[in-house]
């Protein structure tokens, strides 16, 4: 049963990666990239159950936090073109 779930998640990953490649805007890619992260977390969790080693969940939890930060960082980068945005620079 875990194998079926894994196949489903991998199939979903393929579909989402197609959207990452096709775009067309940067926001489509960020959205799909974030979904790839979510699916990777689910994949790691299911993989842990498939191997009988649920310790994998710690990795999934860490990946979840990283996924949030990386997505927000990418969004901020494309909004301001700069990670350490300083509002005063806009005037200069």
């Amino acid at each position: 049963m875990f194998a079926a779930a894994m196949i489903a998640v991998i199939a979903a990953l393929v579909l989402v990666v197609i959207r990452v490649v096709k775009g067309p805007t940067i926001f489509d890619r960020v959205l799909a990239g974030n979904s790839v992260g979510t699916l990777a977390i689910i994949l790691v969790a299911v993989l842990g159950f498939l191997n009988g080693r649920p310790e994998f969940l710690d990795i999934a939890l860490t990946y979840g936090v990283l996924n949030l930060i990386s997505t927000l960082a990418i969004l901020k980068f494309f909004r301001h073109g700069d990670l350490a945005h300083d509002a005063q620079e806009d005037d200069a």
Binding site: M1, F2, A4, A5, A8, V9, A11, A12, L13, L15, V16, I18, R19, T25, F27, D28, V30, L31, A32, N34, S35, T38, L39, I41, I42, A45, V46, F49, P54, L57, D58, A60, L61, G64, V65, L68, T71, L72, L75, F78, R79
Partner: protein, 118 residues
């Protein structure tokens, strides 16, 4: 315990189905804003049902607790990411493809006690 197994399998299968449906929606919908709705199906229903099934498999253990933490993480960070993405896309001037614009029914901050602190 056969009943528990059947229930958990049903939940895992339902979660898998919602994950594939969400991915299909991301592929199929016409613009970013509509695709976000499909992505949130993966985040909430897909992950929710799948992890509920895994929790039933694990029983009352530390594993269940960790699965719950991951789900809580999804439920608290999912809206943050979606909102940030939608706002960034609007800020960049990306127009949503909409059938009807009902934004005129209220103007920004038209109520006097907007955002009042207690």
């Amino acid at each position: 315990m056969i009943l528990l197994d059947v229930a958990s399998w049903a939940l895992i299968l339902a979660g898998s189905a919602f994950i594939i449906v969400g991915a299909l929606g991301i592929l199929r919908f016409p613009d970013v804003y509509t695709r976000m709705h499909a992505a949130s199906v993966i985040d909430t229903l897909g992950a929710g049902f799948l992890f509920a099934g895994l929790m039933l498999q694990a029983g009352f253990t530390q594993v269940t607790l960790k699965l719950l933490f991951i789900l809580l993480l999804f439920f608290f960070t999912g809206p943050v990411i979606t909102h940030a993405l939608a706002q960034a896309a609007l800020h960049a001037g990306l127009k949503p493809e909409i059938d009807e614009d009902r934004r005129d029914r209220l103007r920004d901050g038209s109520l006097p006690d907007a955002g009042r602190q207690p």
